[in-house]
């Protein structure tokens, strides 16, 4: 398969995706759209976490913090001015935020940039740590962000949260951002930067010896990862239309981590599939706790049963698929062609090919 063909196929696939998004936007109800949107946001989050953890090998548990900062930046920039006066009841909104306004796309970009800036500031000292220590430190950082958000009501409305955020996020935005994230991060890992990052993952000391600047590459990877987490946070806020600090507890990071690990570390395809499966299974388990009848037996409504079933499902998957759903396989047109050929062998190719 030639390179040009690959490009052509990718463009075709994007067009098909566009048509699908158009059909979904015009035909599906709000509930189904919400699930698809969440799935697409999780793709962005998962792929960005995969960059720092799967490809660079730096165990970061700070994604909820970057999301939170992005969510609040976007919210403050897109919330209508009159609404800002109305909603901040604990303490009035502090000055520069009262008048700040920006179109959605600018707000998203600024969310990402702020998250990246924070990542550089926190990453410079913290990325010297290794393994679990780095994970704990970044988890601590994310919790600090959440606690600060809880304690500055003049900016975030404190624990009450902000309601009535304009619902700008739709599939065009969420899927668009997800595709853009994949495009950028795939481009990055196929470049010399990406090889440096993977060298750091495999062996830091060896990477340093062959001339990889550890700090520079780690911080860069961390900042790019945080950028997309921040953008995803903005999308998240404008999808749910309400945010409060509790939404960004470390559970949020765990969810993203689950998506990345189930998809297979270092596999973008796996992350995409796992992100949607994660959200679908959460929703399709909902009937379990709604209460139902098996013949004459009436099972009452049991709140919480859905999450019990979900955690059991999660445990089963992790216990029986130890390398994730795809086992680190990456999608490529060549691989797809090989797969199709395996299923539908025509005489010519099956005779000649020995794999």
């Amino acid at each position: 398969m030639k390179k040009q063909n690959d490009k052509l196929f990718t463009i075709l696939a994007l067009i098909v995706l566009g048509v699908l998004v158009y059909l979904a936007e015009s035909n599906l109800d709000a509930y189904k759209l919400r699930i698809l949107n969440l799935g697409a946001i999780y793709v962005t989050l998962g792929v960005s976490l995969n960059l720092i953890y799967g490809f660079t090998g730096q165990f970061s548990l700070g994604h909820a913090g970057f999301m939170a900062s992005g969510a609040y930046v976007t919210t403050l920039l897109v919330l209508p001015t009159y609404y800002k006066e109305m909603i901040f009841i604990l303490e009035p909104l502090a000055w520069p935020f009262t008048v700040m306004q920006a179109p959605f796309i600018v707000a998203l970009l600024l969310s990402g940039l702020l998250a990246a800036l924070v990542a550089i500031l926190i990453g410079l000292p913290v990325l010297r740590l290794k393994g679990d220590y780095l994970g704990i430190a970044t988890l601590g950082f994310a919790e600090i962000v959440r606690i600060i958000a809880n304690n500055i009501p003049q900016v975030t409305n404190g624990a009450l949260g902000i309601k009535g955020i304009p619902e700008f996020s739709n599939l065009w935005w969420t899927v668009g951002v997800a595709v853009f994230t994949i495009y950028i991060i795939k481009g990055l890992i196929n470049s010399s930067y990406g090889r440096a990052l993977m060298a750091i993952r495999e062996n830091e000391i060896a990477a340093e010896v062959i001339g990889v600047n550890l700090t520079y590459h780690k911080v860069m990877s961390f900042a790019i990862s945080a950028f997309f987490a921040g953008v995803a946070g903005g999308l998240f806020a404008c999808l749910l239309t309400t945010i409060d600090p509790r939404a960004f507890m470390f559970i949020m990071t765990f969810n993203i981590l689950i998506v990345v690990v189930l998809g297979g570390l270092g596999s973008i395809t796996g992350t995409v599939i796992a992100a949607f499966l994660f959200n679908f299974s959460l929703e399709y388990l909902r009937p379990i706790e709604a209460g139902f009848n098996i013949g004459p037996i009436v099972i009452p409504r049991i709140p919480g049963l859905r999450m019990v079933a979900f955690s059991v499902l999660l445990l089963i998957v992790i216990l029986y698929m130890k390398n994730g759903l795809l086992g680190g396989i990456e999608f490529s047109w060549k691989g797809l062609a090989g797969f199709i050929r395996k299923i539908f062998p025509d005489k010519k190719s099956s005779e000649g090919s020995t794999r």
Binding site: P125, L129, I136, G140, F141, I147, V261, G304, L315
Partner: protein
């Protein structure tokens, strides 16, 4: 701040710290042996308080008996979680085990919501634990004294087990090298089970003392104390048992004294704990009592 008030706060910090220490032991022992951050430990702690509640209120056991039942059931829960969710993954990448631990944590939390509902339950303390003692100018609740004394007793027993018995020797050898221990005829699976039982039992002791001190139970109550106890284990030097005790006391003291000296910033008390964590990790990554292990090329 008057001296009396300071001493009062110090006593509060000491008792909170000893609770953190008890929970931190479970984290540090499991990490020392399996290199696993057992995120389900906070939920094990939470369950112990519910076991106590049901033993005490529903089955009307005398308080000392319900304590024993709660500790035993919690130890069994800890062992079961290891048997079901961690043992099959012994040769898997560490991240799988971590996700498994998160899964167990989700499971226990939501199981608690299903079984006990999400509505907080208030726990009626035995009258013995409501008494106040007066020492000079400071008033101390009997639970404060109980938590310090009981923690000291259990931690002494633990030190004895780990450093003076064969099982303890097996634990220490596994934490150094799991494969070599197996060659030396250490029963690895059994020892790991015992480790989980001991860690969970200590979490239950912590949970009981916690319920006596903060008598309100809800399914998410394990998250923050669990996370803080884990931080205590890291601050003290993860994998190091005396370190977990020192870290727990240090963290409990710092938390209480932070609020005492800067009451205006009391909303930031948890942030302060996390800031301590990050600073300790940056300047002494192996913790207060941790050994510095040089990386070999």
């Amino acid at each position: 701040m008057s001296l009396n008030l300071f001493l009062q706060n110090l006593a509060n910090g000491l008792s909170l710290g000893s609770l953190y220490a008890l929970i931190a032991i479970g984290y540090t022992m499991v990490y020392g042996i399996l290199r696993l951050i057992n995120f389900a430990h906070g939920e094990v702690f939470m369950l112990s308080t519910y076991f106590l509640y049901y033993g005490f209120l529903i089955f009307n056991l005398p308080w000392w008996a319900s304590f024993i039942v709660a500790i035993a059931l919690t130890a069994v829960t800890g062992m079961l979680s290891e048997r079901i969710a961690y043992r099959p993954l012994r040769n898997s990448p560490r991240i799988s085990v971590l996700i498994s631990a998160i899964g167990v944590s989700f499971f226990l939390q939501n199981l608690a919501i299903v079984l006990f509902t999400g509505i907080p339950k208030s726990f009626h303390r035995p009258t013995f634990f409501k008494r106040l003692f007066q020492f000079g100018g400071i008033r101390i609740q009997s639970t404060l004294i109980a938590s310090v004394v009981v923690s000291a007793i259990f931690l002494t027993i633990l030190i004895y087990i780990v450093y003076r018995t064969k099982t303890g020797l097996a634990m220490r050898s596994i934490s150094t090298d799991i494969e070599t221990s197996r060659l030396m005829a250490v029963n690895v699976d059994k020892t790991i089970s015992i480790t989980f039982a001991i860690g969970s039992a200590l979490a239950a002791v912590g949970g009981i003392l916690w319920a006596l001190r903060f008598p309100q139970l809800f399914p998410f109550m394990g998250m923050m104390p669990g996370l803080k106890a884990f931080i205590a284990a890291v601050v003290g030097g993860i994998g190091n048992i005396p370190g977990a005790m020192v870290g727990g006391l240090f963290l409990g003291m710092s938390e209480i004294l932070f609020v005492a000296f800067l009451p205006a910033l009391s909303g930031y008390r948890d942030a302060f704990i996390f800031a301590i964590l990050i600073l300790i990790l940056l300047f002494k990554p192996d913790g207060i009592l941790g050994k510095n292990v040089q990386e070999k090329v």
